[in-house]
């Protein structure tokens, strides 16, 4: 009995501790706009129809002023299979800047589309684990869209999603050719990491709408098929932070929005 008294508080303590993260389920409605996936809303809300004849676009350049932080050399000695996959030295991708142009910035419409509902793309967003690196480093996904992770390596990985609004997960991918799928239920920048290979890091920008883009090696990005209107545009970078700006897209117009991040003073 004394032992029971000793361990009972411990058991209750553990059971009550719980785990963070939302348990909201992904959307289940059918799309009615040509997107064959699921709607992000649980209730039957009519989907917003975007007229291609009046839709515009937003394009721009992500730049950096000052000296960006140096990328770190990746030491893959911990797993020979990773080292064998590369002839060149590999560096982290947390602050990739070429001639002042920022790669891997996530640009999205963060406000101005409230009350509108868009279909979820039927095709999955794919992220591969190749050479013990995530490829690509950053992707966008709509809430409810299938997020597919592949393992193309001869070694094992775990895919650990660090979330606050979504339900965190940690998937085992021990075999080459394995495929795992997940869906996200809330907007946020989800951090993916592999705890076997601590240098592996990637991000998923989860959005309520499909109006997002990732900047390329030239710092450029384009968001297409945007319905005319006034919006708030947000640019996010894992190292440089977050910026927003108002923007107006005229019917069939091509709006421009450049963002400049600066070195910390």
């Amino acid at each position: 009995m004394r032992r029971v008294r000793l361990f009972l508080p411990l058991g209750l303590f553990v059971l009550l501790s719980g785990c963070g993260g939302s348990s909201k389920s992904p959307a289940t409605d059918d799309s009615a706009t040509g997107s064959r996936g699921k709607s992000p809303n649980a209730t039957a809300v009519p989907l917003t129809v975007v007229d291609p004849a009046t839709a515009g676009s937003i394009a721009g350049l992500i730049t950096f002023e000052g000296t960006p932080p140096a990328e770190k050399l990746i030491d893959m000695k911990g797993d020979p299979a990773c080292g064998r996959a590369h002839r060149d030295r590999m560096y982290t991708e947390t602050a990739v800047v070429h001639g002042g142009k920022v790669q891997w910035a996530f640009v999205r419409i963060s406000a101005g589309l409230e009350g509108k509902t868009f279909g979820v793309p039927a095709e999955p967003v794919v992220m591969d684990q190749s050479g013990c690196l995530y490829s690509p480093h950053l992707v966008g996904a709509v809430i409810g869209q299938v997020f597919r992770v592949l393992n193309s390596d001869e070694t094992l990985h775990n895919v650990h999603a660090v979330c606050s609004a979504n339900k965190a997960f940690n998937m085992a991918m021990p075999l080459k050719g394995m495929k795992q799928e997940k869906q996200f239920s809330a907007e946020e920048m989800v951090h993916l990491k592999c705890d076997v290979h601590p240098w592996m890091s990637a991000w998923v920008g989860v959005c309520e709408n499909p109006y997002y883009a990732v900047s390329g090696a030239d710092g450029g990005y384009t968001i297409r098929n945007v319905p005319p209107g006034s919006y708030t545009l947000e640019a996010w970078h894992e190292t440089f932070g977050r910026q927003t700006m108002p923007i107006t897209v005229d019917p069939s117009g091509a709006a421009t929005a450049d963002f400049t991040f600066k070195a910390a003073s």
Partner: protein, 332 residues
């Protein structure tokens, strides 16, 4: 056994320090296997599981051995408690992996590790030749230590008072280790980046969030240092001719000095895995040494006025009272 448990605590520290806690996403198997490739973070996480498996088997074997051959009931109970605790500890380890390292479970895992370690240390002390010799001295000579003040050994009542001080020291060290576990698992280990000052000041301007937790651990270190030094002075003044008491106190002082140095190195190396894990292990060693001082104090304090059987009963009562108290502290 106790050393093996201490090594297990160090290995657990390496898991956290290298960020490998989720390198193996499943449990009790590892990637569905008994022996996955020991690459990257798997080396630390699965290595910790293998060491834990060996220690668990050893503790189970110890419990069986005690049940079969140990005449003292309280020592047999300690063996059973250690075996049960190590099972709960394994379940907590599995839970923290499956629940993605929630702070409460990870901290509980760290806290129970110290209790398992203390149980093995207590068993080691109680079954040592020195412990038995203390009882045999009493039985054969029937000497009342109150009559031996001329040898520099003070009356039993004074030893009992020092024993209570030692017990308080042990409790404080345990609380300090709990605070360290909270700091470690809530990511506050570098919330104050400088040492010995805190953001260039004695007390940081803000104590919000991780800074408060981190600073509390530093204040706790000061309190523990003060209490240990006072204990050492007390033992030195009153019992310095008793090597059985003074040696573990000297060891405790040495461990405390090493522990402070390792704490500083943890900050200065930006939590490099080895010094950080050694800090965890050295903290456990200091707790164990303080426990040894406490147990020996109680043992010595009783010799001369109690029979060996009564001595064991008294220490057994102390252990049985302390265990639920520790469990209550741990569950808060």
């Amino acid at each position: 056994m106790a050393l093996a448990t201490l090594f297990l605590i160090f290995a657990g520290g390496m898991v956290t320090s290298t960020g490998s806690g989720l390198a193996v996403p499943d449990w009790p198997l590892s990637y569905g296997m008994l022996f996955p490739p020991m690459v990257g973070g798997i080396f630390y996480e699965h290595g910790h599981r293998m060491i834990a498996g060996v220690v668990g088997l050893l503790i189970g074997g110890l419990a069986i051995w005690l049940l079969r051959s140990e005449p003292r009931r309280w020592v047999r109970r300690l063996g059973v408690a250690a075996a049960l605790a190590v099972i709960v500890q394994a379940l907590l380890g599995g839970l923290t992996v499956l629940l993605l390292l929630p702070d409460a479970v990870s901290i509980s895992h760290a806290a129970l590790a110290q209790i398992v370690f203390c149980l093995t240390v207590t068993i080691a002390v109680a079954t040592s030749s020195g412990w038995r010799a203390a009882g045999e001295t009493d039985e054969t000579n029937a000497v009342d230590r109150t009559a031996r003040t001329g040898d520099g050994i003070l009356p039993t009542a004074d030893l009992a008072s020092t024993a209570r001080w030692a017990a308080m020291t042990t409790g404080l060290i345990y609380l300090q280790i709990l605070l360290g576990a909270v700091m470690r698992h809530t990511g506050a280990g570098l919330a104050i980046p400088d040492f010995p000052l805190s953001y260039g000041r004695i007390v940081p301007a803000s104590l919000v969030g991780g800074i408060g937790i981190h600073f509390a651990h530093r204040v706790g270190a000061l309190v523990v240092t003060l209490v240990v030094v006072l204990l050492a002075l007390r033992v030195w003044r009153r019992h310095r001719q008793d090597g059985w008491l003074i040696r573990p106190v000297a060891a405790l002082l040495a461990l405390l000095a090493i522990q402070i140095a390792l704490g500083a190195m943890t900050i200065w190396t930006v939590k490099a895995p080895v010094p950080t894990s050694l800090h965890v292990a050295c903290g456990a060693a200091a707790l164990a040494m303080s426990l040894i001082v406490t147990l020996r104090m109680y043992r010595r304090g009783s010799v001369g006025v109690l029979s060996a059987a009564q001595l064991d009963a008294r220490v057994g009562t102390f252990v049985e009272r302390a265990a639920p108290q520790a469990a209550r502290n741990f569950s808060i």
